[in-house]
């Protein structure tokens, strides 16, 4: 059953071939067997899941209408609220925090009869590109357990990759869905900013964050997007655009005559197997009739700097609320108000989080006219402008999702190296553009690569259609990593 894709499981449930309880129990057992190896999940709610599954089986028996995600088990990144369950954001600070309300995406999926299995591991407060910065131990790459799965949606990526659940939610601020998807050989989609409600997502950088689906196939990702890509009255930045079903166009869509832009000058330093893999993917697209154009996105060389100024600035304000006063952990050694603030944040934030908060506070200091934040905003506008110009020449922009395959846990010596992981993915967040990572093959080390396709704002459908066409043509299928191919006993 672990080789079945989400939409296939759903179809089997509807046809009666599999019961919801069977599906749910199966994956729960698989998690029990394999989670210790990959540490994808931080919390599980098996009783709730089985109860929901039983209800669905009853509904089907009574011939009641069933939701679009009926019987699909879903894993949710631990910075997205499921009411009553823990939302830890992989931080000690929230190790005891239960969500007081449902995230909009959770309500939408619940309504469509999805079955929540548990919350997944991540970099603390979504700050990281490796998974290492979890306060509860890192998730591991199912293709190579001594390697990072990427981050910050490390647990969701590992979970899908190892076949522990067929569908997961992640969040993407600078590449946190796409990069781990690439490193773990799965599909990860970041919708246009404003297409998916952020209500119930613990904010990292509000103008960049987006929740998105992760799965082994583009069809599954599109299925989830159809459900969660809806307007939300509780999120002011939510676009009032009704959800669009592009699944029905998948089979008829052809890449012939379509234009893909590649920023070759920006990719100058890309080398080795990553470059070869990327060029290979482009050839494949060309064989399908796509025209490849050179576009100028040399401005993207400033992406990392701009991102780390803007994102950390917003994060420093978003994380100010964690002060030990109202919820979360309070340091037991604090005796005065000042100490509550100081010691709680000292004791319960990880190093990466503290670093980013300090950086973010710093860039907001000084006069508001001349501070770093102000300058970075201006460059962001330029980046957006340049990308708009690029899209005049092409329908979709192609980039590698990551600069290399997953590095080893023992490799991470230079923190800046980890920041460079975001190099190819940040642009989409800067512009609020839809972008997806699809598996594009493996390196000689057996570790996966991902191809990134990015579209103009609100062209989510185009991105999904292109991705699906590539996926189909690539012929990779949806293989599970060697260690996880076997069925459970």
């Amino acid at each position: 059953m672990h080789t079945l894709l989400a939409h296939e499981l759903h179809a089997h449930f509807l046809s009666g071939k599999l019961s919801a309880e069977e599906i749910t129990t199966y994956f729960l057992r698989r998690i029990e067997a394999h989670n210790p190896q990959v540490h994808a999940f931080l919390s599980l709610f098996p009783e709730k899941a089985i109860e929901k599954a039983r209800k669905l089986d009853q509904k089907r028996k009574n011939k009641e209408p069933l939701g679009k995600a009926a019987a699909i088990p879903i894993a949710v990144k631990d910075n997205i609220h499921i009411k009553g369950e823990l939302t830890t954001c992989a931080s000690k600070f929230l190790s005891n925090y239960r969500a007081p309300f449902n995230a909009t995406v959770s309500s939408l999926l619940e309504k469509e009869d999805a079955i929540f299995l548990g919350k997944t591991n991540m970099d603390e407060f979504a700050m990281g590109g490796s998974g290492i910065h979890s306060a509860f131990g890192a998730a591991k790459n199912p293709w190579n357990l001594s390697c990072i799965p990427g981050g910050s949606s490390s647990g969701s990526a590992a979970c899908i990759s190892a076949g522990l659940a067929p569908l997961a939610l992640g969040s993407d601020t600078g590449g946190s869905i796409r990069q781990p998807a690439a490193l773990t050989g799965i599909c990860g989609f970041k919708p246009s900013y404003g297409r998916v409600s952020r209500y119930g997502l613990v904010a990292f950088a509000s103008s960049l964050d987006q929740i998105g689906p992760m799965a082994r196939s583009v069809k599954d990702v599109a299925l989830a997007f159809e459900i969660i890509g809806a307007p939300c009255s509780k999120d002011s930045t939510s676009l009032q655009i009704p959800p669009f079903s592009c699944l029905k166009h998948f089979d008829s869509f052809s890449l012939k005559g379509k234009k893909i832009g590649v920023p070759w000058s920006f990719l100058e330093k890309l080398g080795g197997e990553t470059r070869a893999n990327f060029e290979n993917a482009l050839s494949l697209l060309q064989n399908l009739g796509v025209e490849i154009f050179d576009i100028d996105l040399s401005i993207l060389k400033y992406s990392i700097a701009v991102y780390y100024i803007l994102a950390t600035a917003e994060a420093s304000t978003n994380l100010a609320r964690f002060d030990g006063i109202r919820y979360g952990m309070r340091s037991p050694r604090a005796k005065t108000l000042e100490e509550i603030y100081e010691y709680s944040r000292e004791d319960f934030f990880g190093l990466e989080v503290k670093t980013r908060i300090m950086l973010g506070s710093f860039v907001l200091s000084g006069s508001t006219e001349t501070n770093q934040y102000n300058k970075a905003q201006k460059v962001r506008s330029l980046i957006i402008q340049k990308m708009k110009e690029a899209f005049q020449k092409c329908d979709i922009i192609a980039l590698p999702s990551a600069a290399s395959t997953a590095f080893e846990f023992s490799d991470q010596s230079d923190p800046l190296l980890e920041y460079l992981q975001d190099l190819y993915t940040i642009a989409a967040n800067m512009g609020g553009l839809p972008a997806i990572s699809v598996p594009s093959g493996w390196g000689s080390d057996g570790k996966p690569f991902g191809l990134q396709l990015m579209g103009p704002q609100l062209h989510d459908t185009d991105v999904l259609l292109f991705a699906h066409a590539f996926e189909k043509a690539s012929g990779f299928g949806f293989p599970l990593p060697p260690l996880f191919q076997g069925d459970i006993a």
Partner: protein, 489 residues
Amino acid sequence: MSEICYEDWEPVIGLEIHVQLKTCSKLFSPSANCFGGEPNTYINEIDTGQPGSLPLLNKEAVDKAILLGLGVKATIALFSTFDRKSYFYPDNPRNFQITQFFRPLLKGGVVTCDIGGETRHFKINRAHLEDDTGMLKHFSSFSGVDYNRAGTPLIEIVSEPMMHSPKEAVAYATSLRTLLQYLNVADANMEEGGMRMDVNISVRKKAETELRPKIEVKNMNSFYNMSLAIEAEIRRQIECYCLRPDLPHAEAISAGTYKFDVTTGKTILMRRKEKEQDYRYVHEPDLVPIVLTPEYIDSLKEKLPELPHERYLRYIKELKIAPDSAAILITEKFTSDFFEEALVFAKNPTALCNWIIVEFAGRLKEKGLSLKESKITPRSLGILISLIETQQITGKIAKLIADEMLLYPEKESDAIFKENPNYHPISDEALLNRFVEETLEKFPESIRDFQAGKTKALAFLVGQVMQKTQGKASPEIVNTLFLKRLKKN
């Protein structure tokens, strides 16, 4: 130390006034905007800064702000935005306030007041929306925070520094308060903290044009105390300069935040002023800009009621009420509206005005009630005045009826009048004539005096009959009878 000549100096005063807007719900959450109530009952996840919550702008609050802008003839920005102002304090649920620093909703504007018969115009610099904090409550061994008030919509109105006396400052604040009530923008109930003033004061020698360093006296919620605080601070600053004429101004008076100690009558330093950049102002990414059209503003303009100054002018020009009385009458909207309603019955504006602001005001003050709390109806008071005007009762009787109205507010004045035969002046001419004859018999010399041209004699005679009838005789009728009788002779 040589004598300090206080008259050589003048104060320069500016006010920053925070007003709680009269809206159903809070500025960024649907929680009730209510005073009082059990602690932490008018709250939801937004008001307590739970992770994953997002602010939602209250349209009614924007409308109220626009109304204020129209009332003071400010420039209403068609495009304004929100910003985060960061600082840590337990009453601040997110440890940042959402305010409008970069682009406020209102700029400029004028508050018109009448000081001692002279019309004065005080300019406003800007006004903007922001949310209020919670309230700290201190107990013996711990402190608690009540977030009921957190998120209450505030409008902060910053005046130009152009008041030069406590009197002017109070006049400005009072007129602003009256205007806010008339516009139905705020109740500005001082006891409930509905209006709080921060006073910026500096002093300078009378001939100087440049401004010297200023300090801020924070959180005044009574006009009387504000006046005292200003007086005290003016003296303190003058003394500082005179004591150390060698020091540069910025050292003699260093910027800081003070509070007023009612018991000592002195201003006390709380802390050195935090400079602008310490708040690390940054754009609020969770809210979209407020975009207004001239048509929308015009639609609100149509609903503007008669403004206090307009009403004041109407009272003195059309109703011929004395300026000082008119100024008092219009100050509280409730009282002024009461007057308008009562006038329909009373018909004599000056008499009605005096009865409201003198006779009833005095009685109400004794009982510790406001006009609203007394539950006396406008009709009742109006009718009382008309009874005097039509000479159905004497002034003396009217006062007795007034006393009863306060004791039994459910009884209308005409009912009280009808019920008590003692309030009906004796108009029986036959009976009165007997008293007239008796009095003339008793005081024959008065007849001679009257005939000799001493008109005081008539008043004496009338007075005697009034005494005899315990004030119940109709003075006009008695007067007429005496005249008839005396002329006969």
